[in-house]
Amino acid sequence: MSNPPVIAPPLDTESRPATARPQPPEPRGFAAAARAANTVYRQVDGVDELPRPMTEAELATLGDPMAELLLRRGTFPTTLPALLEGLAEVAGRDVVDGVFLISESGQIPPEVAPGLRRDIRFAIVCTVRGRETDLLISAGANVDPARTFLQVAAWDERAGAFNFYMRSGTTWIWAGDSWAALEPETRGRGCFDSHVNGGVVMKELKQPWINWQSMSASIRLAADAPLRTDPLYQRVEGAEELEIKMRGLVGRWTAARLSRVAGGEAVEHPDRLLRQLLTTTTVNLTSTETASAAVTRDLVLPSGFWLNTDLLINSLHLPAAHRAWPAVPAAHYLRSLTNFGFRLEDPESGFFKSGDTFFAFLVPEVADEDNEVVRQMVRRGLITARFAACALMVDFANPVFSPARAALMRYVPTGTSPAATLGESIATAIVTAAAARPAGSPEAQFAANWALAEDEWKPEFGRRLTTYLDAVADRARTEAGFDDYVRLAESRRLDFRDTRLHEFALTLPVTEIARDAARLQMNADGTVSTRV
């Protein structure tokens, strides 16, 4: 449903990704004839069966710049230029902080694939009030502004949340706020199938920001592409700057969220927080920084493929003693492209290209928004660094899609719980249960971790990580070992492919591995086996 950069789903078919799951051209029951002009509708999927006009009282609760400065004043811009113009008028200045560009087909030379839909989108970051980003826009870039999708995520300081809007025809629809992403009846529905935890989204968050225009790669346009003359295109900046902004926004929403649900002596719905430690609520996509067509020497695979490095090493500072990230000989990588039948396919246009994605070895990794919740929980003392580490070291070789860590969720309370003892009480529950569970069970793994002395857990975990990284570094240099990692990577990509985050045919490579193949797991000794 959603467009990767910022917010929710395109409503109009004209700009919908070629292989996105079927979408109605308009919200259900929202025929053009039935629309009232200059009216804000609401359709929070899971709550509102049909779009309906918002009452004045409801509108008054929206405290973001989109609502306060435009919609409540009767301004209903229907195109991206009109929206920016409207914001500039009320702000008395240009509000645009950055214009960014993304396309999954952005590295395919236009002249060799004229029939391929480019699906180029703008992500625009604005500061309308104050000194911090408070409004983000996502819109089609290479299509008629009046017909393409137009979506807004706007920060509501009063609510401590983003409000999500989409234009439909000549009206705007409020699709909910960040908090709705967390409520059972709306979680995963509507725009929250991509704004899974209520924040803004940049899936390809790290260098080389595959699919984005950046200092690592530029999106290719035909020499006569009309987009070249678009004033917004003239302002496009590199995704390296968007990464900074998005990380800041994820941090801001997380801080607001924790202040509300854990600001006092109790924590509301601890399970909604702890699932971001123990499960994979969503993912980011990462890749090597080497173009797949330019792999001529050892290819350093993405660190997030091996571990949750951002948390374990960068935040919790576990002392892994390896000297470099594991790398694979170029010959192994190149051979794997043939052996596994790597290709890019767009069924709608018939586009086909042998080989990997533009940057090599694209895989899902732990989402920054999951990690940020954990970082801030530790910082606030809701859980200790030791608790987080003990949990993450359960099945640590599988940083995403780990059934073992997810199994620990059963010990996390769902009701309001004392903040001061949250981590301790969960640990006690797991340790107690471990007594009746077999060795090697998630509970037993956690219990063994938790039993380590205060001055021992860090060095011990560091030793385990070092042993593991040594093992995978050795295996990655063998043909059989690397082939296993190719299969594991594809297994994780298939898991991602099954989610609603996967929208575009060219996001992932296709291989000869069957889509229903048994899912795989990494083992701590560096071997790969069928997921248990």
């Binding site: 590295q107 395919i108 030379p109 060799v112 000194r131 911090e132 980003t133 260098q207 200092m215 690592s216 790669a217 530029s218 290719r220 020499a223 900046e237 590199g238 390296e240 700057e241 900074i244 902004k245 990380r247 800041g248 926004l249 941090g251 920084e289 080497t290 173009a291 797949s292 067509a293 330019a294 001529t296 350093v300 660190s303 490095t309 090493i313 960068n314 500072h317 892994a320 390896h322 000297r323 470099a324 990230w325 290209k353 080989g355 533009f358 970082r375 801030q376 910082r379």
Partner: protein, 361 residues
């Protein structure tokens, strides 16, 4: 439009005497002349008119050295390594850190001034050079610290050779304006290999052999310049030729008193559009120091943490779009084999253009 009369000092700096300005312009003009050889779309602003259809093409990149990032296993390790010496700060931005007795950072000074400018300044206005060192680095700087017994300016003098005792201008071997000019010129040649025109950052630098493919800056500069050249335009570096600070982003930063972290970032040399020296420092009366600010919740303990958020830029200018008749290169001169994202495998040869030791004035 007419030809430029002279190349201006970087950042609109006013330190140079008339003689110094003349020498400076001569130096840049000579470097550009050198670089135009075999690069028909690259031109000298003094010798060739910039046409009315001129368009500027800014190029920006992250200041933190990518090579360090690629070869480190944690953020702390890469920050520590980048702070350890100027020789690894190779993205046209270098810095020096001041700490208090407890080790807390109180000030970080960043520079993107090319060393060649200081060669000219020290040669033509040595007193001014000394005064600037005393103003920006330390009142304790003495003439003998900056000049050898023969009176020659020492770029890597004791006040400009570390990350702890000051950074007056760039000294990393590849961080020179000469390198910048050569890189842009080399990238201005279009390359059609096996019938396919190269456009990507990595395939271009691998084929053309300019600069270091593992930096943030070089591949990106080359790709942007080449993209302009592919429009069959003439291209060069805009006057004043130089490297400049583009911005410091402070999203996710926090000060202990809630003040704006960006407010502690100050440009102290260069004009508003072309800053060449920046300082990150909290005024003493605020009651806290740089090391008390946080980025993503973590305190600033390294100067390199700030470099993660700095972008450096240069500006190319292009004109006569669609008019160039220059034929593209059809073979590679880079040191590495090149492939394109489509079928076709260019040939290989050896040549490297981003120098590791710049020409001096």
């Amino acid at each position: 439009m007419t030809n430029l009369d002279a190349y201006a000092p970087p950042g609109g700096l006013t330190d140079l005497s008339p003689e110094g300005r003349r020498l400076w312009s001569d130096y840049i003009a000579a470097r550009v002349d050198d670089a135009t050889s075999g690069r028909p779309q690259f031109y000298n602003l003094l010798r060739t008119e910039t046409a009315a259809d001129a368009t500027e093409a800014p190029v920006s990149w992250t200041a933190f050295p990518r090579k360090i990032k690629l070869n480190s296993i944690s953020d702390v390790q890469r920050w520590d390594r980048a702070d350890a010496g100027r020789d690894v700060q190779d993205e046209y931005c270098e810095w020096s850190i001041t700490r208090d007795e407890s080790g807390k950072i109180t000030r970080v000074t960043f520079t993107c001034e090319g060393p060649e400018y200081w060669d000219v300044l020290a040669k033509t206005s040595p007193d001014t050079a000394l005064r600037l060192y005393q103003e920006h680095i330390s009142p304790e700087v003495r003439r003998s610290d900056l000049f050898d017994p023969a009176g020659e300016y020492v770029r890597e003098n004791r006040w400009n050779n570390s990350t702890t005792h000051g950074a007056m201008h760039l000294i990393q071997a590849a961080n020179t304006l000469g390198a910048e000019i050569e890189l842009a010129a080399a990238a201005s040649n279009r390359r059609v290999i096996g019938g396919v025109e190269l456009t990507g950052e990595q395939e271009l630098i691998n084929c053309a052999g300019y600069g270091d493919p593992e930096r943030n800056s070089d591949p990106h500069i080359g790709a942007v310049v080449n993209s302009v050249a592919r429009s069959r335009a003439d291209v060069t570096l805009a006057d004043p030729v130089g490297l400049y600070f583009d911005d410091l982003a402070t999203d996710g930063w926090a000060a202990p008193d809630g003040s704006d972290p960006k407010s502690y970032w100050t440009y102290v040399r260069g004009d508003a559009n072309h800053p060449v020296r920046a300082v990150y420092e909290v005024p003493a009366d605020r009651g806290f120091a740089v090391g008390d600010l946080t980025i993503g919740g973590e305190p600033i303990e390294f100067g390199a943490q700030i470099a993660d958020f700095i972008t450096i830029k240069l500006v190319a200018v292009a004109c006569r779009f669609g008019q160039s008749t220059a034929e593209p290169e059809t073979s590679c001169i880079g040191s590495g084999p090149v492939h394109t994202f489509l079928p076709g495998r260019p040939s290989r040869a050896t040549r490297s253009t981003r120098t590791t030791a710049a020409a001096t004035v």
